[in-house]
Symmetry: C2
Subunit: 211 residues, 2 copies
């Protein structure tokens, strides 16, 4: 059984893993879990990932790895070229620093906004197996945080060609997942300067963009 | 100027960096930023870390690194022994996977609970420079998530001696930060089986525990 990625086309978290693999040139077969049909909460998938989340990387022997950062670290160790997690101690730190900031200050607040305001997420204000009701003030707070963080990224990209510095890295993959998820939430306007800049243009033209 | 860590004794995030350095045997000087006196929001510290958060690692040349995972990756590269981020691809993935899960499913929900319910955090429902009001239902949701995650850790520790598997790692540091933060929130009861188990006993007896 070859390595396999459990994924879903529209899920930003799964897209991050797909882009990482595309950048590595690793042809991992993909099996889609239809989140809209609730396949992620059905016994078959919960046996693979009890959290009911995508992505899950399944290795040859059936071992599973969850969490984007864990999948990235695993694939980086197996396929070191091109390096996507930095190639000296300070670069490695910068990749992790910006990857973490984009998750904590960008993706999570954006999910807070989207999942706590959009009717489609009704009793699913958090991904995963436990149903949680929407919390309206959390959506408001999320939107405010997203606006602030878009400005931070804008300043960063005015100073550096890529989010972690001089080289393309995992931080850019996480960054584009955040920027593109804004349109899902109809918040793209907060990133207008980024959408008109060279980083975004470059990202859209990378082969991995469509992964 | 030697490497220096900006820290605060009672901050779980800063404690994680201090424990990591203690495990490495790296004698990094510590400068405390008094969060209770608001020193983290004063111009002097914001010039070092504009996010107003601890920890910040400042290198010899003044370069700063923020985010625990970035500080860990940097120190692991400089001081590889003992390895705290795993020593083969799968182990490295497991450390990252559990470190991420403890952050996302443990520390963040616990902070949601504590900061949105305790009067001491009044207009500071999130750490950092932006004041946010408390959201009562977020405290409730946080508490529910903390209880569920404590059970997940309990099962994990019944199956493995350490959170990432056979060896002590960053995941255990993040895990003990979560477990000990429960008492700050008067929620230790949810982790009663863990507090009586061998992992907790071992962790308390490690030299780094008091860091």
């Amino acid at each position: 059984m070859p390595m396999k990625l459990y994924s879903y086309p529209a899920a930003p978290s799964a897209r991050r893993a797909r882009m990482f693999m595309a950048e590595k040139g690793v042809p991992v077969p993909i099996e889609n879990v239809d989140l809209r049909q609730g396949e992620h909460l059905a016994p078959k998938y919960l046996a693979i990932n009890p959290q009911g989340l995508v992505p899950t990387l399944q290795l040859e022997d059936g071992t599973t790895i969850t969490e984007n950062i864990a999948i990235a670290v695993y694939l980086e160790a197996l396929f070191p070229s091109p390096p996507l997690l930095g190639s000296n101690p300070l670069q490695c730190a910068r990749v992790m620093q910006w990857n973490a900031r984009i998750e904590l200050e960008g993706l999570i607040p954006l999910a807070d906004y989207l999942r706590n305001s959009h009717p489609a997420f009704g009793h699913r204000a958090l991904p995963g197996v436990v149903p949680y009701e929407q919390i309206a003030p959390l959506a408001e707070r999320g939107r405010d945080r997203v606006e602030r963080f878009a400005k931070i990224l804008e300043v960063r990209l005015a100073e550096q060609p890529y989010l972690a510095g001089d080289d393309f890295s995992l931080a850019d993959i996480t960054g584009i997942a955040f920027i593109d998820m804004l349109s899902m939430a109809k918040l793209s306007a907060v990133a207008a300067p980024i959408l008109q800049g060279s980083w975004y243009h470059h990202m859209r033209n990378r082969a991995s963009y469509a992964a």
